[in-house]
Amino acid sequence: MFAAFLQYLFSGLTSGAIYALAGLGFAIIYNASHVINFAQGEFIMIGGMATATMVAAGVPLYLAIPLAMVASMLVGVAMEKFAVEPARNADVVTIIIITIGASIFMRGAAQIIWDKEFHSLPAFSGETPIAVMGATLMPQSLWVIGVAAVVIVGLWYFFNRTMFGKAMLGTSHNRLAAQLVGVAVKKVLLASFALSALLGAVGGIVVTPITFTNYEAGIMLGLKGFSAAVLGGLGNGTGAIVGGLIVGIAEAMASGYLSSAYKDAIAFIIILFVLFFMPSGLFGKRGTDRV
C-alpha cells in the first residue's frame, strides 16, 4: 500500500519537476517585462532537439549540451531583437500575441530544419531504476529535480545579489524610474530573453531522455509550465517550482487513487480553486492598482 503511494509520489515528482523547470522560464521574462512569453515551450524544444540531433550525429554529450544552450540563447536574442523590440511601444497584450506568433514560427522552422520524428537522448546516468521501499525512480528524474533546484538557487542569487539581476527586477517594477537611475532598459529585456531561452534549453535537455522531443514538444511543456507558473504566482521562481510539483503530484495521485480519466481535470480544479482565493497565485505579490 505504502509502496504504491510512494510510486505515485515519484511519478508526480518526475512530471512535476518537468513542469516546474518549464514554468521557471515564464517567471524571468515576466519579471523583466510583464510579458508572458508563449514561445517558452519552443525554447525547451530547441534545447532538446538540438542536443538530440547533435548526439545522434556523433557529437559527445558534454559538447552538445553547451552548444544547444548557446543555439537556444541565440534564438531567444533574435526573437527579442526582431519580434519583440520593434513593438516595444505596444501594449503588453500585443507583445504576448507576438510571442504566440513567434512560437508558431519556431515550430514551423523546427519542422523544416529538423524533421517531424521523435528524438531521444540517452539517460545521463543509465537506465537502472533506483528502488526505494518497493517503489522505483529513474535516475534521470533525479537529474530533473536536481537541475531545477540548482536553477532556482542560481536565479535567487542572480536577482538578489547581482547588480544586473537587481536592475532587471527594478525595470519590472518601474521602467521609467529604472531608466532614470541609469539602467539600460533595452539591454535588460534582451538579457531576459537570452536567460529564459537558456533556461528553457537546460530544461529541454534534461527532460528529453524521459519524455522524448519533437518539433511540437514545446506546446505541452509550455502549457503545463504556464499552469505551474500561474499557480505559484507569475514572476516568482520558487512559486513556479512549487506550482509545478503540485500539478504533477496532483495528477499522479488522482490517477492512482481516483481515476486516470479525471487526472487532468483534478489538476485544473486545484489551479482554479487556488486562483479563486489567491488570484495572484501561491507566492505572487498581491497586485494593487491605484485608481
Binding site: 504504491a4 518526475t14 512530471s15 519542422q111 521523435f118 531504476p129 522524448f212 499522479a252 486516470s260 480519466a261
Partner: protein
Amino acid sequence: MRNLMKWGATAVVVAGCSTFAGQAMAADPIKIGSILSVTGPASFLGEPEKKTLEMYVERINKEGGVLGRKVELVVYDDGGAGEKASTFTKRLIESDKVDLLIGGSTTATTMAALPLAERNEVPFISLAGAVVIVEPVKKWVFKTPHTDKMAAEKVFSDMKKRGITKIGMISEDAGFGKSGRDQSLLVVKSYGIEVVADEIYSPKDPDVTAQLTKIKNAPGVQAVFNFGFGQGPAIVTKNFKQLGIAVPLYQSHGVASKDYIKLAGDATEGVRLPAAGLVVPDQLPATDPQKPVVTAFKKDYEAAFKSDVSTFAGHAYDGLQIALAAINRARSTDKAKVRDEIEKTSGYVGTGGLVSMSPTDHMGLSPSAFHMVEIRKGDWVLSN
C-alpha cells in the same frame, strides 16, 4: 466477301474512333485528389503517404499512365484539422474536378471529408483506421488500413492461445487510443478475457508509472495491453520496465514502426503486437502471396527516401493501386462505374493484406492480414 468488307470497314472505323478517343483523352489526365495531414500532429501519417503517392504516380506516368492517360495528383495538406480537410475536399471536387479522392490520413479528417464525397458522388478511398468510416457502409467510401477492431481481435486471440484470461488495459485518451479502447472493450468478452484494470493517459504525459502501478496492483493481471501511438506507447514501455512488471506487454499496430523501438530502447524486449506483413517482409514464408508485394514496396520506398518504410506509406500505396485498377477495369473515369469497380476489388494483394471488397464490406481485409510480431533485440520477429 461483302460481309467481310463491311466488317473490315467497321473495324477500321471503330479502331479509328478508339484511337481518336484515346488521343483526346491523353490530353485529359486522370485527376486524383488527395487530402493528407502532411504537417501537424498526424504528419507521421501524412508525410509518408504523400511521398508514396507522388513516387508511384510519377512511375506510372513514366510507364505510360492508365488507359493511355496521364495521372495527375493534386495534394492538399490539411495539417490534421477537420475543417481544413473539409474545405480542401470541397476545392478538390468543385474547382479541381477530381475523378477520385484518396486520403484523409486520420479518422477525424476522413469523417470531415466524407459527407462531401457522398453528396457529390465521388469515389473516396480513406487511409484512416477507425471502423466508423466503413461501418455502416457508405456508398462512395472505402478504406485500405486495418481497423483498430481487427488489431484488438488479433491481440486477444493471441492472449487466448497463451491462456491469458485477466488483463490490464492502458490507452491513450485521444483519437486512435480512445477508439481502440472502445473497440477492444466491445470484443474482449468473446475471447473469455476479463479487463480487470482500465487506465488512460493523455497523449503527452511525461510519466505513466502511476497508472501502471495501479494495473500492477490489480489482482490477477496476466498481461497488459496498450493502445496508442506516438511517444505515449514508448513512455508506457519504459515505465513498464522501470516498475519491473513481470507479465507480457502487448502493444497495438500503432507502434509498428522502428521509431518506437528507437525511442523505448531495451525496454521493448519481448513486447508483442499485431503488425502487417510489411513490417517483416523477409520473415514471411515464401508461400505467402504478400511476400513479393511487400518486399518490392519496402525496397522501392527505402531506396527513394532513405528512411524506413512504415505501414502508413503502405496504406497510400494500396489506395492508389486499388483506385487505378478500378479505373482500368471501368475503362473510364466515370465516377459511378469506378465506384462499382472499386467495390468489386477481389483478391488484390496489397501491403496491408489480401483485399476482397463487397457491397457490405468496403475495406475487404481479412483478420489474417495481421501477423503477431514480437520484439527481440530491437528487431521484429514473426511469432504467429
